[in-house]
Every structure is written in structure tokens, then in C-alpha cells.
Symmetry: C2
Subunit: 216 residues, 2 copies
């Protein structure tokens, strides 16, 4: 019984979220902010990837902002602040994803006039964020070789709904006995037109290629 109710409920929630996401998109555009939604499992390296991108953008004279989405805590938020990134922390409590409403409030906390590029780091998992656009212009999904070779097959939806696919921690592929080529193959199967990048964020590899694909 509860299944049916959840679906009905879900539809109106999703529709409401899509409307709020469109409003966020407009709001960001008006302030000349380019925003990117970063998805991925916990520990896939989303935060470090954003730190690396911010380094390059700042060197180019651009101002960077970030929204750190997590169930609890402020670890990522503090990492961003330490890097000189204008940041807002969002704790979702029991929810396993950000939604456009939470992002709307986070945007109020940030001085958008002082931000050129905004990274929205979603809650770390490959399931829940899929259906909740936030108002970003593009979605980047991050997986890492340390998660094993079956990540794409286990979560096809999120790969289908993302614009850019990043396979991170390629430096650890060998020790993990994971072949990045297999991950690329799986990603191309679920999303034939995907832009796929191999990165090693810890050592700053693959960052410039990724930026180019993001139009940065």
C-alpha cells in the first residue's frame, strides 16, 4: 500500500522541485554565476576535485563559491573555507540529497555578486540526488576506482542523467585491481553521448581536460 502513496507524493514533490530549480537557475543567471552540480558516492573525491578546479579558476582571476551538502557535519564546508572559497554549509538531516529549496536558501547566504563559478556538492551517494535538479547548468557525476568495477552497472540512472562523468583516483586503479576502461565502457553503454574523463585529483591530473568539457 505505502508504495502507491509514495509515488503519488513523489510526483508532486518532484514537480515542485523542478519549478524551484528553474527559479534558482534564473537567479544565478541574473547574477552572472555559472553553477555545477557535483554528484557521487562518499569518498569518490568530489570535494578534492572542486578544490583543484577552484585553484585553477582562482589563478585565472575568477571568484569561486561552493555549497557543501551533507547529511551532517561541516567537514567539506571547512575544507572549502580553508581554500578561500566562499561557501555555505547545508545539512540535510535525514534526507539523502539536496533539493532546489535547500539550494535556494544556501544561495541567500552567499554573496552572488562576488562569485563567478559555483560548485554545488551534493550529498554523497549515487541514488537519491538523481531526480532532483538544483538549478545548475550542468551535472558532473564522480566515481572512483576504489569503489570497484561495478559502480555504473549498479546505478545506471544517475549516469544517464549527468552531463559529464568523471572516473577519479585512477592512480589507485592497479592496486584496486580495477580497470578504468571497463568503467568507461559501462558508462558509454548507459550514456552513449557522455563526456567521460579520467582524473587523479589528489595529484592534479586530468583537471584541465575536465574544465574544458565544463566550458570553463
Amino acid at each position: 500500500m505505502h508504495k502507491t502513496v509514495t509515488v503519488d507524493m513523489g510526483e508532486s514533490v518532484l514537480e515542485h522541485n523542478r519549478a524551484l530549480a528553474r527559479a534558482n537557475r534564473e537567479h544565478l543567471k541574473e547574477h552572472g554565476v555559472r553553477a555545477f552540480d557535483f554528484l557521487g558516492a562518499v569518498g569518490s573525491g568530489k570535494t578534492m576535485l572542486i578544490e583543484r578546479l577552484a585553484d585553477v579558476l582562482k589563478a585565472q582571476g575568477l571568484q569561486v563559491g561552493a555549497i557543501a551538502g551533507d547529511v551532517a557535519g561541516d567537514d567539506d564546508y571547512r575544507r572549502f573555507r580553508k581554500k578561500g572559497i566562499r561557501a555555505a554549509n547545508v545539512n540535510t538531516g535525514k534526507e539523502c540529497h539536496l533539493d532546489a529549496h535547500l539550494v535556494e536558501h544556501a544561495l541567500e547566504e552567499l554573496d552572488l555578486m562576488k562569485i563567478d563559478v559555483l560548485f554545488i556538492e551534493n550529498v554523497g551517494n549515487l541514488v537519491c540526488p538523481a531526480d532532483f535538479p538544483l538549478g545548475a547548468e550542468r551535472r558532473v557525476v564522480v566515481i572512483s576506482t576504489t569503489e570497484g568495477d561495478d559502480m555504473v552497472r549498479k546505478h545506471p540512472v544517475i549516469f544517464r542523467l549527468s552531463d559529464i562523468i568523471v572516473i577519479n583516483k585512477v592512480d589507485l586503479a592497479k592496486i584496486m585491481e580495477v580497470d578504468p576502461k571497463g568503467l568507461v565502457r559501462d558508462a558509454k553503454t548507459v550514456r552513449p553521448d557522455a563526456k567521460i574523463f579520467l582524473t587523479d585529483a589528489r595529484h592534479g591530473k586530468g583537471i584541465k581536460e575536465l574544465m574544458k568539457a565544463m566550458g570553463l
Copy 2:
């Protein structure tokens, strides 16, 4: 507005789930099956840990079963079958956790008379499964050093609701620049009476100590 509705809905769903979990528990007990719920992020090593535990149990003459819970695909299910483990595959579709109802149906697929120990591998994330007991006698949460040093702080609820905490892939701690002692400290903060174990499932380390804590 949608928040309020979700909470009301949520409560009745949770209550319904708890009732079904109690029924599963009874059903398992009647068949002399000891069941364990394994939680953890994608790639934390839940499947490999279960494979290692199954190896030892089978060497002791016990029969092992497993329920492989995933959003999509049957990678883990096939791994279990290959190991000679009696297995059922459960795809949750869009749901980010197993529930007692799904487990009830999975149990129907298994010949419980031929199973002594049953492992229920939940969908890989540290958020959603927390509130959904399945009928297992104990909950084991698995994290790995490759996920970074902030996993416990980011997901306190799931550690508070688990009986045994496993920190896996300790062989990769150094290369990941993660100190397992910090993870242990965090785990003890959120759950002072937790039983915490360091394992390296790939190389079979820490398995016997873990089994003892599980009462196996």
C-alpha cells in the same frame, strides 16, 4: 509544505516496516537462521567481507545464504552464487535502501531449511538504510579507508544504529593518507559502546575477530 506531508507519510511507513521486520525475525528464528544486515557505502567492501565470512563458515560445515540488495543489476548476486552461496537478488529500482517487505519476498525465494547464516547486503549508502530494520539479529556497518577520514562525522545516525562497526581496506590507509585511529575515535564518540574492527577483506585480515564479535 511537502516536508510535513513526507514526515507524516514517513512515520506510518516506518511503523509498518518495523512490524514486518519483527515478522521476518520470527520467520528466520523458526528456521534456525541467524541473519546479519550489512550496511555501508558503495565500494566499502561489503560483498567481499561477506565472501570471506562465508569461506570460514563453510569450512566449519555451516550453510550460508545471502540477499544482494542493489538499486539495479546483479553483480553482487552473481558473485555470491559463484562462491556457492545460496542467494537472492533484490533490485530496489529508485529506492535507496532495502525494507522489510522486500526482504520478506527475498526470504520466500531462499530455502531457509538449508541456510544456517544469512547475510543481507543492503543498498550501498550510509543514509537511507538507517531507519529500516529488516529482521536481522545484528547490524554491521562497513566503511573503508579509501572513503576518507570524515565518514563517521558525516553519517552519525547509521553508526549510532549499528551494533558492529568495520573499518575495511586498512591496507590502503597509508596510501590514502587516512589514519584509521581517527575513524575509530569518531566511531567511539558517536557510539561509545560500539564494537569496532579493522579489516583488510581482500587479504583476509581481521575476519576471525569480526566473526567472534558477531557471535559466529
